[in-house]
Symmetry: C2
Subunit: 217 residues, 2 copies
DNA sequence: AATATGTTGTTAATAAATTAACATCTTGGT
DNA sequence: ACCAAGATGTTAATTTATTAACAACATATT
């Protein structure tokens, strides 16, 4: 196992998914520290904030390549810069969104996403009432225009916020027109070719955990 | 509720969180099968749909207590009923929501949540423009009225969709007035007493995974 | 300048989750 | 009625993630 240096170059960065998932949380914490003019923070302090083991923090941060200083800790500004860089949160990755319902609309208007590397450049829907309107800087088009827009703009990421029943056909359309990664907000599992990246976000899973903890403890 | 006794010690083995998180996905799949009039489904078919190991499916379903039949598979209707029961998705757990921004509004209007056991009965915000309006059947109140409403209604669950900076003080307020579980949609880690259940939902974690897979593979 | 201290970073051990192997059982066909 | 097939359910092995132990080291203090 040679997870030695993660210089960001090459594809050897086999970072564990749990670590990857924790990094945005750290980032949020560090940003808050910066606002409070805190300059340095130790792995112990970070661990205490998240109620976790300090060595786990150390390991997680080591993946980003950042170095702490003995007796001092980590430089907060450097942490923020390094994590943003590592996670490509300054890349402004362009995305198409399909299905401008409640959730879709919220995601488009949620400008927080922009500072986390995502830029929804256009949306698509079948509802003629919303088509041709504009939310933030994203215009809403009829589905038919996806093909042409897909050629004009170079978009790799597609977001599915359609009704559950439309998830699969939306995914098929995306794959057909060159989308490389799909962010699926429906609970439906979608079938795509192996080279397509799929990330499922299901708030129902979180809800299941909460209800379980509430009722069985 | 009793699940399974691990050994003679009499303590019950809790369901693993990964299993818990997969159950809503299964449920969604089974509901789709029912619509297509499929009556029985085997663990192999389920596993194929989710591209996972079939024994894992078997194990997951075993936790709910449901029994499959050799050569036949699992009864779809029974699966749906059992999982809904197991996850308390028919409990209509009442919830307060704090912060009627883009995301908060989407959650309130998202009637899908209702069929998954959650009923947002009221919301709170500081913005006088939204206060006193009604979304779905949830009225929006000023924060001040939380205390009285908390006494009148018996609500155990609180949802935080405020700006990040307000997350902690909102959590403090919730704890002070008897909320037992907090669903935190901000990336901020909140500090609460040990007996309070906290579930963090961070779409930034999912975003981090997607961007990483897109850029490093 | 020397020392004590607190903090990183590495290696080892434990715990948890997934995958594999196998045994069991029930149904359908001959 | 018997046998074969196919699926569940259990036990073992592997992989992965987390926690613990410890070594190295730079800084502040005396």
């Amino acid at each position: 196992m040679r997870v030695k240096t993660s210089n960001g170059k090459g594809d050897i960065s086999q970072i564990p998914e749990p670590t990857l998932r924790r990094l945005p949380g750290y980032l949020s914490f560090f940003k808050a520290l910066k606002i409070n003019n805190v300059e340095f923070v130790s792995s112990g302090q970070i661990a205490a904030n998240f109620k976790m083991d300090s060595t786990l923090v150390t390991k997680d941060l080591a993946y980003t390549g950042i170095k702490g200083r003995t007796k001092i800790g980590y430089n907060v500004n450097q942490l923020i810069e390094t994590i943003i860089q590592f996670l490509d949160f300054n890349s402004q990755e362009k995305a198409f969104l399909f299905g401008v319902g409640n959730l879709g609309r919220a995601l488009i208007k949620y400008h927080g996403l922009k500072s986390y590397g995502l830029h929804i450049v256009a949306a698509f829907d079948v509802d003629t009432n919303v088509v041709n309107s504009t939310l933030n800087d994203a215009k809403i088009y009829p589905i038919d225009e996806f093909r042409d827009l897909s050629r004009k703009l170079d978009v790799r990421l597609g977001i599915i916020t359609t009704p559950d029943a439309k998830a699969q056909e939306t995914a098929d359309l995306m794959v057909a027109w060159g989308i490389k990664a799909i962010w699926n907000f429906t609970p439906q599992s979608i079938k795509v070719p192996d080279n397509i990246i799929v990330e499922n976000t299901s708030i129902y899973s979180d809800l299941a955990v909460i209800l379980n903890r509430l009722n069985n403890s």
